[in-house]
Amino acid sequence: MPGGVLKPPPGFLAITALSRCPLLEQSRLRDFEARCTQESPPRCRLHCPLDMDVRAFMAAIAASRPNEARKLIERHLPLPAVLCAVCDHPCENACLRRDLGGSLAIAELERFCLAHTGPQMRILPRPPKKQRLAVLGAGLAGLTVAFDMGRKGFPVTVFDSDRVNPLLVAFPQLPSAAVEEEWQGLVKNRVSFKAVPFEDEETAGMLLTELERDFDAVFLDASRYAFAPERQCLAPLTLHWRDKVCAGGWSDVTPTGARYASASRQAGDGRLAGITLQRIMGGVSLDAERSDTRDSRLHTPLNGIEPSPRILPANDTYSASEAVAEAERCLQCACLQCVQECVYLQKYREFPRLYARRLFSNATVVKGTRTTANVVMNGCAMCGQCETICPENFSMAELCLEVRRDAVARDVMPDSAHAFALEDMEQACGPDCAFLLQDRSLPQGTHAPRLFFPGCQLAGSRPEQVFSMYEWLRAALPGGLTLLSTCCGIPAHWAGREALFARHAAQLRTLWEHNGRPEILAACSSCMAMLNLSLPEAHIVSLWEVLDGLMPQFVHTATTHAFPGRLTVQDPCGARHDPAWQKAVRSLASKAGVELQEPTRSGEATACCGYGGLVWNAQPELAATMTQRRAQALGGPMLTSCIMCRDRFAAILAKPEDSWHLFDLLPQTADLIPDRGVSGLSARRAGRATLRRLALGPGLEDDPQKKFPLHIPDTVLASLEQQFILRQDVVDAVQGIERTGARFKDRESGYFLGSWRPRRVTFWVEYRADADGGFTLIRAWCHRMVVPGAIQPSSEVILEKRIRA
């Protein structure tokens, strides 16, 4: 039988390293950041030697904001009038629209933008720098160096035979007016021109030697002088040739051997060389902190994008409406694949890389600054869907778990975030609910080879079904079966409480070893993951696989409810990486005669119902949105194999009975559905105690809640559930208040009001005394703040503490 060798699902980190530094390391942040590519440049920008932000440019044009688009051109492109006229636009070849209707007409739109807008950025001349720069050759590379360095305040002198002609020769289509226009700007930035005769290479070589002597740095435009070194002779990162000289601006060669001038490449050479020349003048390292590789990993999903043909201008150039229509074809390349699927990631309008940054900076800032770290880290369902969808496997679960553990270690985790879930875990492991039932058919001292671990939520919601299934399995499996009802420890794991989880894991281990190290049959995928962490050497298999093996066929015999017919299958997020679980569930459902439908995201990519990661406790509204979203995606009656999925869907459906658990289809359990409605928090706690009584016998019938006559109307109970107030809490409160007599009474209604603080929560109960000697709860509320004088039974203690403080 398979099982026991599952790798922990994402978010279920191994807990081998319990000792760790309390503050998160910056290197961990880098690890996380590197796995989200959303900030990597899109292909158009990546292929532009001048780093033009084409995506933002397209967005501005599409939004009819050409002035904003022009600002982007001015920010990124040197000599815009020249470059926009002659650019060979490598961006267009790289455009992802290429095979979806044709690349965006980027160059044409840039020309449109320049033609329809005036200059947007006022370039204030910088204070002049001492070092002077010479540029030999007024080609596009040379003038780009002059443009960039002039703006930085370096006095630049350009040497050539003519200041306009060299560009006109290289780019015959270029209007001379454009060159003149750019020269006006250059002159304003202290770029001067000096005509030198262009006689032969030898003279030019001698001139270069002179310039090297007279200037602090020199750029040699290779498009103008053949004695310049070949491109391959220079380091591509710096274009440094010798001493204080850089070169660039070579012509390119087509695959058929024709030479041509690539405007983008020549201007790109100029920009690169400019940086090197500035470093030469500053006497610093030429290549430190520079890289010639750029992050090209931005993943843009193209599925579902319809082809859309390029808009061609009716006349020579685009009209305003044509330009907008063309720019609207831009895909605005972005990944965001995880964000599109996840309500939590959408909530703060960011993507994982920024979440990582925010969480790390919040974890390291001085306490006292108002932050939102807690809501961010505690909003993740830790379901692992993002990790599965992400091409780089970014895991928000892993990130949030680390940050939660860090917050717990530094004692800044808010108590309220997970207190209820941890109390629930304590109750599920406590004497009222937890038990181990040895197989009574076995001789004393022998152990069954298998153990059934239903999980505390299934036990709480469906105690009768669990026990019936146990009895059936016990008879069907050779050698008998042990039943263990307790919590697997996942609330502690999700809450980042490593020490608590480790303690619980140790208790489970003791139990497992004392009972002969049995194979474990788990009915909950989260339990399976946790048991794999706690007992890595145990053989753990899903109940569904066992049942599928034991029942080659069966008949759906339920009499208490109508047969569902067709259901959409919801894979639990805990079983995302467990194909055996998924297969067995489908197999059992089809044996029952159910026609199964697959939702858009199923199997490995399934979405969480909102129970995961304790979001239901920390941020109930967010968890409710997750439930809603997933139920909508399933689109109709659903089949779950996780009781939390089942109960959460049931809670929001108009017809709760449309949410099915696999138990509801199996002959052993189908007739034992306790209530097809919603199983609330209080009911689940009572359910665990019920299973214990079923298993250990009626002698243990001792439910204090039943003894105390407090009537809670259904509407009031629903309000309690929303506030995480348990039936037991209000029973204790009324009982305690009546015992001490410390309460208020309303003369108008005759209602009593009192408070009870059994732990770090104060419960307030308003109730009336009934004629039959019992009580009826009118309403209840709770708070965490400590109010002296409002606390029972220990108000004196609190008051004294306050006085001492």
Partner: protein
């Protein structure tokens, strides 16, 4: 982040059943996560039993609790 100074019962005419006296609006210090706030609340002048109305618990108090927790 200061609490509004005074909160009265949401409804009714309440008295303390142990002391049989009507409640008075008195200044009380409420405490949470190393912070303290002075609030005027309905209180029994004899035994000091203090009332937190539902609107305060689910309104301002919940808001301030969340603020302090997220600090």
């Amino acid at each position: 982040m200061a609490l509004d100074p005074e909160f009265k019962p949401d409804h009714g005419d309440w008295y303390c059943t142990s002391c049989d006296v009507p409640l008075q609006q008195q200044k009380v210090q409420v405490l949470y996560m190393n912070s303290a706030f002075d609030v005027i609340l309905p209180r029994c002048p004899e035994c000091g039993l203090t009332m937190i109305p539902e609107s305060l618990a689910n309104g301002k108090m919940a808001e301030v609790e969340a603020l302090l927790e997220d600090k």
